[in-house]
């Protein structure tokens, strides 16, 4: 059960990575599976467990865009995944400048 879940997670995470990379030409792209934190949570029951991710993206495309806009860009890139059981993503979306400033 656990290993089957892990395989599914791996494949979804990989697909997400590819899609985000090509859509947003990210310079930093970190995807962390946190589905285990949401196991058994209402609305997730019955799915395979590859549902929740933390995503950190640094992309020049975010320049001049509001937070809502940036999140939409991420959601747009992942539309297929959201259709097929991806439940929630926690998104950190920054421009290269914003990360440099820290």
């Amino acid at each position: 059960m656990a290993s089957r879940g892990a395989n599914v997670v791996l494949s979804r995470a990989n697909r997400m990575k590819t899609k985000l990379q090509s859509a947003l030409s990210a310079s930093v792209l970190e995807i962390e599976d946190v589905s285990h934190q949401h196991a058994g949570h209402a609305g997730v029951k019955g799915s395979d467990g590859e549902t929740h991710f933390n995503v950190k993206i640094v992309s020049p495309n975010f320049e001049g865009q509001s937070l809502v806009k940036r999140h939409r860009m991420v959601y747009d890139a992942l539309a297929d995944e959201l259709q097929s059981g991806l439940h929630a993503i926690s998104i950190v979306a920054k421009t290269p400048q914003e990360t440099g400033a820290k």
Binding site: V68, H71, Y75, A88, S90
Partner: protein, 170 residues
């Protein structure tokens, strides 16, 4: 002050009786979240189509999209979430409620887990795929990441200032 706020928060999260600032029923119109449509259509062949019962949604001129639109117009702070403010059923919804509760503003909420059609209507209204979704004075704000970010940058305080002020004078 901080102490009383956090105890208030804790109360809310523990699912004890609703705090003053949380209301779940949206005033002004009577669409109930989780409302069930009538599914009993009599199979009487003599009944003309015009007289067959239809579901409530068709009967009322209110589409679910209208419901959402009215929600966000009539409620200064509207949240569509998993669970209810006193008992969120998702960590992200819980986080959003905790952040909003810091500001002592009236919070209107609908539980999208109770109504899949409403859930879809909200998604298409905002063109946003996940929950919670927060609207302030009719403006779509975003989900829990964004509300937390606005809280941290101080923008949320500005957005909620006049709502909190209205609360005090009422």
């Amino acid at each position: 002050m901080a102490k009383s706020l956090s105890s208030l928060l804790f109360k809310g999260l523990a699912g004890l009786p609703a705090t003053r600032t949380n209301r779940i029923v949206v005033p002004g119109f009577n669409y109930q979240h989780g409302m069930r449509y009538s599914t009993t259509v009599p199979n009487d062949p003599d009944t003309h189509d015009d007289f067959k019962p239809t579901n409530k949604l068709e009967n009322s001129s209110l589409s679910l999209r209208d419901v959402v639109e009215l929600d966000v117009q009539q409620n200064p702070v509207m949240i569509y979430m998993k669970g209810v403010p006193d008992a969120p059923q998702c960590g992200f919804s819980s986080l959003a409620v905790r952040v909003l509760n810091l500001y002592n503003v009236p919070l209107s909420a609908r539980n999208i887990l109770e109504d899949a059609e409403l859930k879809n209507a909200v998604k298409s209204f905002s063109n946003w795929p996940t929950f919670p979704q927060i609207f302030i004075k009719g403006e779509f704000i975003g989900g829990s990441d964004i509300i937390l970010n606005l809280h941290q940058t101080g923008e949320l305080k500005e957005k909620l200032n006049d709502i909190a002020a209205n609360q005090k004078t009422e």
